[in-house]
Amino acid sequence: MTVSTAQLASWLERYAAVIAEHKQYLTGLDAAIGDGDHGINMDRGFQAVIAKMGPVRDKDAGTLLKTTGMALVSTVGGASGPLYGTFFLRAGTALDGKIEVADKELVDALEAGLKGVIDRGKANLKDKTMVDALTPALERARARLGEGASIADALSAAAEAAESGMKATIPLKALKGRASYLGERSVGHQDPGATSTFFMLRSLHEAVAEIPQGARTTTG
């Protein structure tokens, strides 16, 4: 099976909507251990993505995701701008010229994105960052595909893994980003970036599985 550029465009639209919806929630999480702007930053970025998507939505997946990355890099700022920006730039580069994306190619592209995030941010697992949601998610997706699952099922499992990874950041002491300034005081709070990353993977699954929008009852 394959994933179409149209489905990826739907992913970005769904994610933008979820971010807008959870702007205050993400910002609240960031206020607890950061500077209270994560939702604002991500929303500013994905509004820009939506604005810039028009001309490229019918182009190849690579162009779509690179355009997304560029929009994020040039509008988000903060830590999440370069990180999410690099994620989409690298994933897009991996999908250059592709209109239809094979299941494994998609997971490989997301993997390339994750590698970009780590190159840029130098985070290790358990540093209490978005990496803690993204890493297990992609491992699960790859594993399920290996077991012969559909890309939709694989991404559903990825979203679940991202959610547990997100929740698993709560007991962690932050070692990267603004939250690390808090030392012990960062323990007991869920990482905002891991949370937005869980939303990102959930939106991807919903877009690929073509679940009617708004069907899901929102968490958070």
């Binding site: 205050q24 910002t27 206020a31 251990i33 950061g34 500077d35 209270g36 702007d37 604002i40 930053n41 500013r44 890099v73 040039s74 509008t75 988000v76 700022g77 903060g78 830590a79 999440s80 701008g81 370069p82 990180l83 840029r120 941010g121 932050a174 070692l175 990267k176 980003g177 603004r178 690390s180 300034y181 808090l182 030392g183 005081r185």
Partner: protein, 342 residues
């Protein structure tokens, strides 16, 4: 927009959270046309006569909401360009890339970066873009906030008050003809010899957020606060100005450590909502404490230069001076916020 509107109505002299930064930039451009020009999308404040041929260009940047830092420091003897991000959010690579190009007089460009993950990464990407276009770029990172426990495994200490002093001193050196390597070396020396710690009496409200960044009781203060309202070292009961000044100053002194006989620049900074009369009360306590310790204040700066929107509070920065840093602190400067000798 709904809560945005509420925010505007939430007692700020702004038109909307979305327009605040651009409106303020337009105000600066109008008020200081003799010193600087402003470019939009990407937003950059550029010294009027940049690029200065043969002079090392100084580019700084960071989130907005810390005014006058950095735009108020653009001008002769200080910065060549400042890149203002959204409120409390580091600027984007395209801003610093544009600034770097605009101020590169052929002698290379210094990027002055406060140690925040976001600032570091955005400046890094900007440097990559600028170098791809053949520019010579050196970064210097300020990390003077003693409130944060430093460690190899964390993001390290935040860059705060020393940034202001560094921009002035290094700006003087660049104006005097230091090359990129000497400028970079001097910048690192200034950062290495400076320490800061701040505290907050009240929180502040990021317009786009619409509510205070943190809650704090009427009888509580936050010691070791960050300039973005990041929680600090500890939450304690309200204390007198003398007690607060002693806690901040002694922590700063012990950290470097500053020693009996040292000559320092003492910088008492206001967080934005604290009036000058209180800053002088604090300066008086700092001065008393340091003379007790045998540390000589040979230069001073009292005022709100690195702020956190309307937060009430203060930060204390000490910089150990030597002949070189003293000379360039005293050198002529002509910016919107700091001016002397011209």
């Amino acid at each position: 927009m709904a809560e945005a509107t509420t925010t505007t109505r939430l007692k700020k002299l702004i038109n909307s959270p979305e327009s605040e930064v651009k409106d303020a930039l337009a105000g600066m451009a109008a008020a200081h046309a003799d010193l600087l020009r402003v470019e939009y999308d990407p937003n950059v404040i550029i010294r009027k006569d940049a690029p200065k041929k043969g002079k090392v260009g100084l580019v700084s940047g960071g989130g907005s909401g810390h005014e006058p830092m950095h735009g108020g420091f653009v001008g002769r003897g200080m910065l060549d360009a400042a890149c203002p991000g959204a409120v409390f959010t580091s600027p984007t690579p395209d801003q610093m890339a544009r600034a770097t190009k605009a101020v590169d007089g052929g002698a290379g460009v210094l990027h002055i970066v406060k140690n925040y993950t976001g600032d570091i990464m955005n400046f890094e990407m900007a440097a990559e873009l600028a170098r791809a276009e053949g520019a010579r770029v050196n970064p210097v990172i300020t990390n003077d906030d003693v409130a944060v426990q430093d460690s190899l495994y964390t993001a390290g200490r935040r860059g705060v008050g020393v940034t202001v002093l560094l921009e002035k001193i290094v700006g003087g050196a660049a104006e005097a003809g230091y090359d990129l390597d000497k400028v970079t070396e001097l910048a690192k020396k200034v950062n290495a010899n400076g320490r800061s710690m701040g505290m907050a009496l009240t929180s502040c409200t990021v317009p786009a957020a619409g509510k205070p960044t943190f809650d704090i009781a009427d009888d509580e203060i936050e010691l070791g606060i960050g300039i973005h309202g990041e929680p600090g070292r500890e939450r304690t009961k309200m204390k007198s100005a003398d007690e607060i000044a002693e806690i901040l100053t002694s922590t700063v002194v012990k950290d470097l450590p500053f020693k009996r006989g040292d000559e320092v620049l003492a910088f008492v900074n206001g967080m934005g909502g604290t009036p000058l009369i209180e800053l002088y009360v604090v300066y008086n306590a700092v001065n008393r404490y340091l003379s007790k310790e045998g540390i000589k204040i040979s230069r001073s700066l009292v005022g709100s230069y690195i702020t956190s929107l309307e937060m009430a509070g203060t930060s204390i920065t000490l910089l150990k001076l030597d002949a070189e840093t003293t000379k360039f602190w005293d050198a002529p400067v002509h910016t919107a916020a700091l001016r002397w000798g011209v």
